[in-house]
């Protein structure tokens, strides 16, 4: 039996005549998935659609076999940390979580115990009895994460969850996301800060102007982009010898020796052919190769290639 996943089929959302997302088709397996795109690209709309806070104008969504318009089933499986930095008036950290857990059906004692465990996990135990209105931005981000995670959902949807966290907080949260993904949960993390997604994600969904422009494992997404050259770093003892042979290949558009003289960067339009022919060159020239790796498989590079200069301002 295959593992149930998150499926969107031909999903569109219009706000009147304004397009939110357009004909999105996705299948998101368990693990950590990064949803990346500039501000206003449709990430939050997509996350709202996944969690039933918005209804699709067209198409179907299934979260582990459950439709988002069935909250009584959906929110046993799903936790959502939204981008909204607002909270019910006058609540403390502990009362905020106790209430959420009571609505999950937990008894008072169990809810209390669980709330303290989660507050401990996100580093807010000491501030538990303080009003959330008095929390710092980073603390408010943590309590939102705690709210999304407190009932231990199978699917976590996190909209810009690292906003406002200090570097140590970010590292802790990234570790937490990785831990949750390793337990077999679906963790979907959005960000417009590309290196964040790059660091934490197993796979990536890129969205721009309401449309998914690429999806898959970061490396796979990169290789899909045949119209843009891929950059490959080759660490070897005689880079000039390799460079001269690479220049003979029609799909290689640039070769450059790296600053320390112990390697070269080659840009090719055909990654598959490049790696096949590089093997032959290495054998023929007899150079001692230390490493061969795509040099720009970061999301940022793919993102720039995919979306171009027009989106560059939105990313940092």
């Amino acid at each position: 039996m295959s593992t149930p996943s998150i499926v969107l089929r031909d999903v569109s959302k219009f706000y009147g005549e304004v397009l939110g997302v357009n004909r999105v088709n996705l299948e998101i397996p368990a693990g950590l998935t990064g949803l990346v795109g500039p501000n206003g690209s449709g990430k939050s709309t997509l996350m709202h659609l996944l969690t039933g806070l918005l209804r699709p104008s067209r198409g179907e969504i299934s979260i582990l076999g459950v439709a988002p318009d069935r909250p009584e089933e959906l929110f046993r499986l799903v936790g959502y940390c939204t981008q909204y930095d607002s909270f019910p008036h006058g609540v403390t950290g502990i009362s905020f979580l106790r209430y959420a857990l009571a609505l999950q059906g937990m008894g008072a004692e169990e809810a209390d115990q669980r709330a303290w465990e989660v507050l401990e996990k996100v580093g807010l135990a000491e501030a538990a009895n303080r009003r959330i209105a008095g929390y710092s931005k980073g603390m408010r981000q943590r309590i939102k994460l705690a709210h999304a995670y407190c009932h231990q959902p199978q699917v976590l949807v996190l909209d810009e969850p690292l906003n406002g966290l200090d570097p140590m907080g970010r590292a802790e949260m990234i570790d937490l996301f990785a831990e949750l993904a390793a337990e077999g949960r679906h963790v979907i993390v959005s960000s417009h800060i590309l290196h964040e997604v790059d660091v934490i994600s197993d796979r990536v969904v890129m969205i721009h102007g309401g449309s998914v422009v690429a999806e898959g494992e970061i490396r796979a997404v990169r290789s899909e982009i045949t119209s843009h050259p891929i950059q490959v770093l080759i660490r070897c003892d005689r880079p000039h010898a390799v460079a001269s042979r690479l220049f003979e290949l029609s799909h290689v558009v640039e070769v450059r020796i790296v600053d320390d003289g112990l390697g070269l960067l080659a840009r090719t339009r055909d990654a598959g052919a490049f790696f096949r022919e590089l093997n032959a060159i290495v054998i023929e020239t007899g150079v001692d190769v230390e490493t061969v790796a795509p040099a720009d498989e970061s999301v940022h590079a793919v993102y720039d290639y995919l979306i171009g200069e027009s989106a560059g301002g939105g990313a940092s």
Partner: protein
């Protein structure tokens, strides 16, 4: 009932209880409850002033207090205090959360939207009853107070307490009916106080409307439970009083319809705070 349905029903019962207690806390025990307390303090202050400044001659006959309270109840307490207290409590249930941008936390709970409406509604009714019933009782007491021992004896006599019980029943039924209306208004309108004031105008005009139009107001049915008849003035169009059971059926039936509609609106509710 199948085991799965029984479990779901049990879960919903607990969720309704949790939602209702939360709304009770938000309505009556938060800083934002102050306008409500000021509203219900108004009749108490007025009745206390009356108790102090009532001329000696008017203090002799305590039976006049019964008629005076009936007039105050019908024209001031019911049409103004009960109406606006319910408007504030029930409109806030959803619209208040939309305005403070926290409704999504409620919608992210594993609760069917219709159950959500019911839980919040019951919390609203509980809040309204806890706020308004003591106000009515205190106003009733202050009406008889200036009449001294004979007045207080009349108040605690079986007929006096029976009359008070009828007023309490009217307040409870008014809270149920207005609650259904205002929870729907809070879900449907961005500024629900405008339709609320229009509806108040309609309720105020009721005595002067023909019988068919009277039947489209809540006050028309609520006065069927009034223990003391009150003159509605020279221009009022008299209609046959509604039987108590028919009035009860009309009030509870319309409340059920309003709650059903509120559930339907809530089921299609989307979180787009920027548009609200």
């Amino acid at each position: 009932m199948s085991p799965a349905r029984a479990i779901a029903a049990g879960a919903w019962r607990n969720q309704i209880k949790t939602l209702a207690w939360n709304e009770l806390r938000r309505s009556l025990f938060s800083r934002r409850s102050l306008p409500l307390y000021l509203l219900v303090a108004m009749p108490l202050v007025l009745m206390a002033l009356r108790a102090v400044f009532l001329p000696e001659a008017a203090r002799v006959d305590p039976s006049k207090a019964t008629v005076e309270f009936a007039e105050v109840f019908l024209f001031f307490l019911l049409r103004f205090i009960v109406f606006f207290a319910n408007a504030v409590i029930f409109v806030r249930l959803f619209r208040g959360e939309i305005l403070e941008r926290s409704l999504h936390y409620t919608l992210l709970a594993p609760v069917p939207r219709e159950v959500l409406v019911l839980g919040k509604y019951l919390g609203g009714v509980l809040s309204a009853v806890l706020l308004l019933v003591p106000t009515i009782c205190a106003s009733y007491f202050l009406t008889y107070l200036p009449h001294g021992a004979p007045g207080l004896q009349l108040m605690v006599s079986s007929s006096g307490l029976g009359i008070l019980a009828r007023y309490i029943l009217i307040v409870v039924l008014a809270s149920c009916a207005y609650g259904g209306l205002f929870i729907l208004a809070g879900l449907y309108f961005k500024n629900p106080m405008v339709p609320a004031i229009l509806f108040l105008g309609w309720e105020t005009l009721t005595p002067f409307l023909p019988a068919f139009l009277k039947s489209l107001s809540f006050v028309h049915y609520l006065v069927s439970f009034a223990p003391v008849p009150v003159s509605l003035g020279a221009f009022a169009l008299l209609a046959r009083p509604v039987a108590w059971w028919l009035a009860l059926l009309a009030l509870l039936g319309s409340t059920a319809v309003l709650l059903f509609l509120a559930g339907r609106v809530a089921a299609r509710l989307e979180v787009t705070y920027s548009a609200d």
